[in-house]
Symmetry: D2
Subunit: 136 residues, 4 copies
């Protein structure tokens, strides 16, 4: 296994809850986004700010998510993410969201991110040194 | 083609925009949700409130979304949705999000919804009369 | 009365609803923000983009809001806003949110905005020509 | 001083950031709401769930907020809240939001909450035993 999986803890906020008394479906994507930012900074030691300074950015190309069990007000969750594969301009990042109280899977899926050059706005082949920074 | 496609117009709000000056990725899911609610009421003539009164509800089982082009502050968009297929307890709903200014595709994908009995909380085979209400 | 009041219509989205089945308290502020953007463009003919190009921006200094009646899923609302007074670096903008179905007041209040020079990041006395653009 | 002040730590999430690269104005209200829920559970030992079970609820009557300094992506903040006064059906709760990195005030203000009987939907004089539960 070349790439590691990292974990970030999040406490559900009241504004994450929707009319069904569960965490709103689209907030799951925000939880994964938060986890990636935290893990870039704390685990990869490659914070988004540094990535942007180099003239690069990530855009989401597509996303797949399976909802397994609801999350509730006050829940503490664990978001596990890790690089699945790197393919030219793209990185596939898998994720799992665990409800800590039961230790059961609440959702899983992946994001496909494309690296762009922020000057040209175009996709660019991911350089080896970037791949290395993600290979911890 | 058994099922119809319907359209809902939405104007992007400032609170939909994120730090990248684009509509935030997760808000696309909220736009589709809004379109489905409007279309249940206006096109299927089967508003969510009536569905809930019958003792049924929909939960999202999974979702697939492809981001094609960014959406910006002040954009008016068209969200097209339609039933793709009904399979026992599940309905697959496809969607397309169009940026009206350019008439180009901003995103597309589908949601798989499971019908639940709100008393038991369990998935239930979708009755024929419900399928008929969606067959307009 | 030197300054006019303008109106913007908004349809409540499902993602605006919280666990109490009402529009979430903080979303009222987002509705007013949306109304101001629309009215800058359509009524003052002075879109935020143009304001930013001139090197100016608005920041919220404080906000007062009174919640009178709840708003519900599917509600259409009218957001009325208008300049109350201009005082050196600051503009006070009043607002009212009306629930169209009943034509009753759902909330009212005001925002105090400070004009900043986006180069210096500092508050700046609002020039006469800006006041004139708001005096329609 | 009859009523105590409590503190809750929150880490700003990427979805809290708006197009100005700061925490979005309306999210400050959500941070205070989150802090109150945590403090009801952890400090008052009177979680919202228990309050609702007794047949009571809180609705926001009005809110005043002063924005002092911006909050940024990745910031850790401290939200301090405390009861200011109880007046028949109403409780005034003050809040301060501190940016931990600088230990400076980012915002302050108060919420006025009215206690309602969830069966009648009407405001009700706050019983002594409820006031006592908040007098820790």
């Amino acid at each position: 296994m070349k790439y590691s999986t990292f974990e970030t803890k999040i406490t559900v906020r009241p504004d994450d809850i929707d009319m069904n008394q569960h965490v709103h479906n689209s907030r799951y994507l925000d939880f994964v986004l938060f986890a990636r930012y935290q893990q870039m900074r704390d685990n990869y030691k490659f914070p988004m700010e540094e990535f942007l300074e180099k003239g690069y950015g990530w855009v989401v190309k597509n996303c797949w998510i399976e909802y397994k069990r609801p999350l509730f007000l006050g829940d503490e969750i664990t978001v596990r993410t890790g690089v699945l594969e790197v393919d030219r301009t793209d990185v596939r990042v898998k994720f799992e969201i665990i409800r800590n109280k039961t230790n059961k899977l609440a959702a899983n899926g992946y994001f496909l991110y494309t690296m762009i050059n922020t000057t040209t706005g175009r996709a660019e082949v991911i350089p080896d040194w970037v791949i290395e920074r993600y290979s911890v």
